[in-house]
C-alpha cells in the first residue's frame, strides 16, 4: 500500500484524508483513491492501483501463442472482443496471415456489438454512480439481447474468447443476421430513451456540465484515448485515423464533444452507440460469403521481430506490443491499456471539485480496473 505524497507531509487543520477504496461502491473494482479534502472539496488526489495485479505479461511469456487469447479477454471483461482483436492481429501481422474477407466483416460486427455491450454497461454503472438506480434495468434489457447474440456465436457471455488466430472457430449462427436486424430496428429509439432517462435529465446535466473539464492538450499529453479524448474535442478514432481491418469501408462519424467536461464524455458514448449501430447495419449488408478462417499452420511460430497493433476498444486505444524470438512462445508482450492512461489524468481534472464529482468524473472515464493492473 502506497502512501500518497501528501500523506507524508503535515496537512492543514481544515483538511483531512479520505480513503476511497480499495472497497468502495463506485471505484468499479479494486481501486484505491486517496483524497485530501477540505470539507467536501477535493484538494489533493492520488490513485493507488495494483491491488489485482496478476502479472499477465509474465504469464504470457510462458504460454504458447494460441493459449494467450483467453488472457486478453480477462484484461477488460467488458469489451473482451476488442482486446482479442489487438492480440490476434499482432500474431497475424508477425506471421503474415491474410484473413478471408468474411472473417474481417464478422470481426467488425462482433467488435461493434461488443462496444455497444460495454457502453450499455457503462451507462448503467454511471447511472448508479450518480444515484439513478433505474437506468440500469433499461440498458440491461438491450444488453441481454446483444449478449445473447454474441453468446450464440461464441458460447461466452462475458469473456467470449471470440477470435482465433486467423479468423474464427465457427461461422455465424444461422439466425444471427435476422436477430441483429431485429435488434437494430429498435435500438435507435432505445438510445433516445436512455438519453431522456438519464443523460438529458436536469439534475444530471447540472451535475456534469462544466465539471471535470479536460482540455485537448492535457488529454493528448496524458495519452488519454477513446471516448474521453473525443469528449475533449479531438476527432481521433483509430478506426478512422489508422484504419485496421475493413473499417475504412464503412461510413460513420467520429463523435466529439465541445467542452471536454463530464457531460460531453457521456454524450460521446451515447452517440458512439448510434454510430456502432450504423456500422453494424452496413456490415450486415456487406457481409460476403466464403471462408471464416484463414489457413493457419498447426504450430504457431512467428518469425522473429516486433510488432505493435492497436485497436479502438470501447475505452480507447488498446495495443499489444509483442516481441517474438521465433519460438512457440512470445519473448515479451506488453499490453497498452486505455484505462491506465485515462486514470492517470484523473488528478488533473478533479482537484477543486466535490466528492460527488470525483465519483461522476471517474464514472465518465469508464475505468476497468483489471486492465489497469493487468
Amino acid at each position: 500500500m502506497i502512501k500518497a505524497p501528501f500523506e507524508m507531509e503535515k496537512i492543514s487543520d481544515e483538511e483531512y484524508i479520505l480513503n476511497m477504496g480499495p472497497q468502495h461502491p463506485s471505484t468499479h473494482g479494486v481501486l484505491r483513491i486517496v483524497l485530501k479534502l477540505d470539507g467536501e472539496v477535493v484538494t489533493g488526489l492520488y490513485p493507488d492501483v495494483g491491488y489485482i495485479h496478476s502479472s499477465v505479461e509474465k504469464m504470457c511469456e510462458n504460454k504458447k501463442f494460441e493459449m494467450i487469447t483467453p488472457y486478453t479477454d480477462r484484461l477488460d471483461y467488458l469489451s473482451a472482443v476488442n482486446y482479442n482483436w489487438a492480440y490476434v492481429a499482432a500474431v497475424e501481422k508477425l506471421m503474415g496471415i491474410q484473413l478471408p474477407e468474411r472473417a474481417e466483416y464478422m470481426r467488425v460486427m462482433l467488435a461493434e456489438l461488443n462496444r455497444i455491450m460495454s457502453h450499455l454497461l457503462w451507462y448503467s454503472a454511471f447511472g448508479m454512480d450518480v444515484g439513478a438506480l433505474t437506468p440500469i434495468f433499461y440498458a440491461f434489457r438491450e444488453r441481454e439481447e446483444v449478449i445473447d447474440m454474441v453468446e450464440g456465436m461464441t458460447g461466452g457471455r462475458l469473456t467470449h474468447h471470440a477470435f482465433r488466430i486467423g479468423g474464427f472457430k465457427n461461422d455465424l449462427q444461422k439466425d444471427f443476421l435476422s436477430r441483429l436486424e431485429k435488434f437494430l430496428a429498435k435500438f435507435e429509439d432505445r438510445i433516445c430513451e436512455y438519453e431522456a432517462l438519464l443523460i438529458n435529465n436536469v439534475i444530471l446535466t447540472a451535475r456534469t456540465k462544466g465539471v471535470g473539464i479536460l482540455d485537448k492538450d492535457t488529454a493528448i499529453n496524458y495519452g488519454v484515448t477513446g471516448p474521453v479524448l473525443r469528449g475533449s474535442g479531438c476527432a481521433i478514432d483509430l478506426r478512422k485515423n489508422a484504419p485496421y481491418s475493413v473499417y475504412s469501408k464503412f461510413d460513420f462519424r467520429v463523435c466529439t464533444g465541445k467542452n471536454g467536461d463530464t457531460w460531453d464524455r457521456l454524450k460521446v458514448r451515447m452517440d458512439e452507440m448510434r454510430e456502432s449501430a450504423k456500422i453494424l447495419k452496413q456490415a450486415a449488408a456487406m457481409l460476403p460469403a466464403g471462408e471464416f478462417c484463414a489457413k493457419v499452420p498447426r504450430v504457431i511460430k512467428p518469425a522473429p521481430g516486433e510488432v505493435y497493433t492497436k485497436v479502438e476498444s470501447a475505452r480507447g486505444e488498446f495495443g499489444v506490443y509483442m516481441v517474438s524470438d521465433g519460438t512457440e512462445k512470445p519473448y515479451r508482450i506488453k499490453f497498452r491499456s486505455p484505462s491506465f492512461s485515462n486514470l492517470s489524468v484523473l488528478k488533473e481534472i478533479t482537484i477543486g471539485s466535490k466528492i460527488a464529482d470525483v465519483v461522476a468524473i471517474m464514472g465518465s472515464l469508464d475505468l476497468v480496473i483489471p486492465e489497469i493492473d493487468r
Partner: protein
C-alpha cells in the same frame, strides 16, 4: 512519411546510434542522455503527439535492457519507436515525464518491473507491485514461492 524520411528528419537534429525497420516501423536507437531532448523534438517538431507506451525488453544474452518508447502521430498516422540500450547491472535513464505526462505512470511501471531507474522522475513510487518483489519481468527473475513441477 515513411521510415526513411522520419529517420532523416531525426538525424538532422539528433544523433541516431543505430536504426532498423521492423514491419514498416522505424526503430531508432538513441543515446541514453539524449532521450528527453529527442522526445521533445518528436513531439514539437515532428508532431508525434502521442506517446503510446514506454516499456522495456530484457535481453540477458547481450547483457542489455532495451527501453522502448512508442510514438504515434495523429496527423500522419505514423509510428516511431525510440530505443535505448542499457546495461543490465546499472540501468538508469533520464525521465521524459516532463515532456509527456503519460510517461509518468509508464515509467513507474517499467521501473518496478525491470528495475530501471528513471532519474529525475517526480514520484518513482511503486505503481502495481507490492513491496518486496524486485523486477519480475526480467528474464532471470525467480519467484521464491514457486516450486517447479516435477518432470514427468
Amino acid at each position: 512519411m515513411n521510415f526513411q524520411e522520419i529517420l532523416e528528419k531525426i538525424k538532422t537534429k539528433h544523433e541516431v546510434l543505430e536504426s532498423k525497420e521492423d514491419l514498416g516501423v522505424l526503430n531508432a536507437y538513441i543515446a541514453t542522455a539524449k532521450i528527453a531532448a529527442v522526445a521533445a523534438f518528436m513531439k514539437d517538431e515532428l508532431k508525434f503527439e502521442q506517446l503510446n507506451f514506454i516499456t522495456a525488453v530484457d535481453f540477458p544474452a547481450n547483457n542489455a535492457i532495451e527501453v522502448v518508447y512508442h510514438f504515434f502521430s495523429y496527423e500522419t498516422a505514423d509510428s516511431v519507436v525510440l530505443r535505448i540500450k542499457l546495461d543490465r547491472a546499472k540501468a538508469e535513464v533520464p525521465t521524459i515525464s516532463g515532456v509527456f505526462k503519460t510517461a509518468d505512470w509508464h515509467e513507474r511501471e517499467a521501473s518496478e518491473m525491470f528495475g530501471i531507474k528513471f532519474s529525475g522522475h517526480p514520484d518513482l513510487n511503486r505503481l502495481l507491485l507490492p513491496d518486496g518483489i524486485e523486477s519480475p519481468l526480467r528474464k532471470d527473475y525467480k519467484n521464491p514461492d514457486m516450486t517447479p513441477l516435477p518432470k514427468a
